[in-house]
Amino acid sequence: MLNIVNKSPLDRGSLDSCLQAADGGAILLIEDGVYGATKGSVGEAKIKSAAGKFKLYALAADAEARGIADRMMDGVTLVDYNGFVDLVAEHKTCQSWL
């Protein structure tokens, strides 16, 4: 399963819910979701506590737009929209945690 999260963890509970409920697979952070993987943020702590359960990706264009591409925590792979498409193709299903 590819889990897509598009909200900051300080605004909504979607990252929390995804980390708690989703049965592994990958998480792709897009839009405001990219704030969740910034170094030193509560999102980083949450993601680290689910360590190893998920592969973590963030959409580069969204991180760059927000000036945080150089602040991504370790273990996050930045992908472009082509990479986004590949992630969807590689996983049997995807869920947007809206």
């Binding site: 399963m1 409920a21 869920q95």
Partner: protein, 120 residues
């Protein structure tokens, strides 16, 4: 026709936004297409099932009855996250229809088995 497992993941409270109502409309259509439909309720989505909605004062259509009618469409797989209920001071007795409650992890496994996951 191909039958796929459609899971509708409901995470939003009713009335404050339209998603719960319009999600239910898709559920009914998917059932009419004879798909293998199930519904998951977690986070504020569990408020959709709280019994006793009375929407006269806000002049919006109460759609609580529609959940009760799901059975007529052979939609009987309704799963509710017990942690979300507990976090809101609710139990299964507060809900307008009988559901199966389960842990978040169990619900996650259920979602994992689907062909199509729709969340609104």
């Amino acid at each position: 026709m191909t039958i796929k497992k459609f899971m509708f993941v409901n995470r939003k409270a009713p009335y404050g936004t339209v998603y719960a109502l319009e999600s239910l409309e898709v559920v009914l259509i998917a059932a009419a297409f004879e798909q293998d439909v199930s519904l998951a309720f977690l986070d504020d989505g569990v408020y959709q099932l709280k019994k006793g909605h009375s929407t006269k004062g806000i002049e919006m259509k109460a759609f609580e009855k529609t959940y009760g009618a799901l059975e007529d469409y052979d939609v009987t797989k309704l799963y509710v996250d017990e942690e979300s209920l507990a976090a809101r001071g609710l139990t299964a007795d507060d809900l307008c229809i009988p559901v199966e409650t389960m842990s978040r992890a169990a619900l996650g496994k259920m979602i994992e088995e689907q062909d199509v996951v729709l969340s609104f």
